[in-house]
């Protein structure tokens, strides 16, 4: 994949933003309201949805890999890498697929991605623990993902509305 200097810069900026958002969401511990491991706002998914539409699937995947790798390096925890990669790749794969379907809005794409993210993380947990016990959390996580996915969709819709008056999306 060839990237222009502008595309590379935008990718780097979005990676930094995704990392910042992942850190920021620790300030809003959703797990206090829903006491299930893995419950979170998923703010970094805003960047994923945005990158998918604004830059395309290829660059969105690049940003995702960079975010997962750097995120686990900063957290000093490489087992977190498997979790975020499984979740992120599942979410991106599902969102890429859904974004090609007609009749789906950014809300549907984002909610589908959030649900897929949880499925991926549960799969990673099952692989690392070698047990099906994490599956018990999945129904709750899927329910919450509809809300957080809808929220991400709302933020993205606002973002795209705001950008409509600029020439960013036209490249």
């Amino acid at each position: 994949m060839k990237l222009t200097t502008k595309e590379l810069t935008v990718c780097a900026l979005l990676t930094a933003m995704a990392l910042g958002l992942s850190y920021l969401e620790n300030l809003f511990p959703l797990s206090l309201a829903v006491p299930v491991p893995g419950v979170k706002l998923g703010l970094a998914n805003i960047v994923a949805v945005f990158a998918l539409y604004a830059l395309g699937a290829g660059q969105a995947f690049l940003i995702l890999f960079a975010r997962c790798l750097l995120g686990s390096v900063f957290a000093g925890n490489m087992s977190a890498f498997i979790f975020s990669l499984f979740g992120g790749v599942s979410a991106m794969a599902v969102m890429t697929l859904l974004s090609h379907l007609r009749g789906l809005s950014v809300y549907g794409v984002s909610a589908g991605g959030a649900a897929a993210h949880n499925c991926g993380q549960i799969a990673a947990a099952m692989l690392t623990l070698g047990s099906t016990a994490p599956l018990y959390y999945l129904p709750v996580l899927l329910g919450v993902s509809l809300l957080t996915g809808g929220l991400t969709g709302l933020v993205c819709a606002c973002l795209f509305r705001g950008l409509a008056s600029t020439n960013f999306m036209k490249g």
């Binding site: 789906l104 999945l138 795209f160």
Partner: protein
Amino acid sequence: MKPFPELRPAPWDLAVVAAVLTLALFCGVMVWGGAATGLTAIVTADGEEIDRFPLSAPAGERTYSAGGYTLTADVSPDGIQITASDCPTQDCIRTGRISRSGQSIVCLPARFILRLEGKTEINSSGVDAVIG
């Protein structure tokens, strides 16, 4: 550059919501639906544990003596049932088969409790019916 996505919720978004809810429901039934796998039966008499075995143990009958009474439990992978007891009221037999985590059969005169425990803790109070 790709065109803008649809920014207002569209009817087909409901299909995504329905799909996710179906998956959640399916998973919920699978893991919380009381499948008898991974359950452990714990038998106590007069507050002391007298037996503990996984429900996946070989099916068959087990006999317990408690408080001067004798109870016979029929164990199979899909649950446990008291099939015979010489207690006065026979309610333990009428309790029928228990198969889910948290369910129990209690016989008060014999001070006998048979409890199922597992990862799927549905009713952690431990007592579903007090009989005897």
